[in-house]
């Protein structure tokens, strides 16, 4: 009974947050992203403070202790304290479709490479 509600809330939050974050990060990120894109696209430096803002949405699934993915049935992984490199790779793989999970693919596709670096910087800094 609660699960459909939770999922619906998740999607609403997601949509709202990604619209907000797109407006927020697009303009300031444009200049540095363009500069680094020609040289080394992989070497995007993450800003943990921005990642903090971007990850409010993630709490909908990753912030509830013991929360389980609906199907297949397993606990949504703990991502706080994981390394930034691993998290960047994971989000990038979801974005490209190399890793498959409907919600995570949708989420990651709303993020720029800079957003992903920021998110990874914040999550990896959690103690």
């Amino acid at each position: 009974m609660m699960r459909p509600l939770m999922i619906a809330a998740c999607f609403l939050l997601t949509t709202a947050a990604s619209v907000a974050s797109a407006q927020e990060t697009q303009a300031p990120a444009a200049a540095p992203a363009a500069a680094t894109a020609t040289t080394a696209p992989a070497a995007v430096k993450g800003d943990a403070a921005k990642g903090h803002q971007l990850t409010y949405t993630c709490q909908g699934c990753h912030g509830i202790a013991g929360y389980k993915n609906a199907y297949p049935n397993y606990h949504v992984p703990k991502i706080g304290g994981q390394s930034a490199e691993y998290l960047v790779n994971a989000l990038t793989e979801y974005k490209k479709g190399a890793r498959k999970h409907p919600t995570m693919q949708a989420q990651s596709q709303s993020f720029s490479d800079q957003d992903i670096a920021d998110i990874a910087a914040f999550l990896s800094s959690l103690k």
Binding site: Q59, G63, A65, P72, Y74, V76, K78, G81
Partner: protein, 144 residues
Amino acid sequence: MTNKILAIALLASLAVVGCSSSDTPAEHSAADRGEGHTSSSAGLPAGHIAAGEQLAGTKGKATGQSCVDCHGAEGNAPIDGTYPKLAGQYYDYIAHALQAYRDGDREHALMSSQAKDLTDQQIADLAAYFGSRQSNLRDLHNAH
């Protein structure tokens, strides 16, 4: 009627015995697998920490590496930043990841071949072991 009750009582006691000797519960019924949902962690047998610990330190044939050779002692000190910490991760997520690598739903230069020959029991044991270790991995509860 009494036979039925006896049978239920017997099944229940068997279930209790089965659970108490395992470190992680068996995942639901095997019906999911019967329907072809092989990427689900449903249907895995119960995992054993001690068996998982032994396997975690055993070199894999395909890579010549053990789990802890790359993920570090207890899966908590990866030798490379691109390798995840396994210690303290939810056991069923670890199992799900290993099944995905084994079944080709997730790819990694080392993990795909490392997981290829793992049995369901071995996956359940590894998941039980790494999931039982302590680490700083956490969910996002109170992170904002």
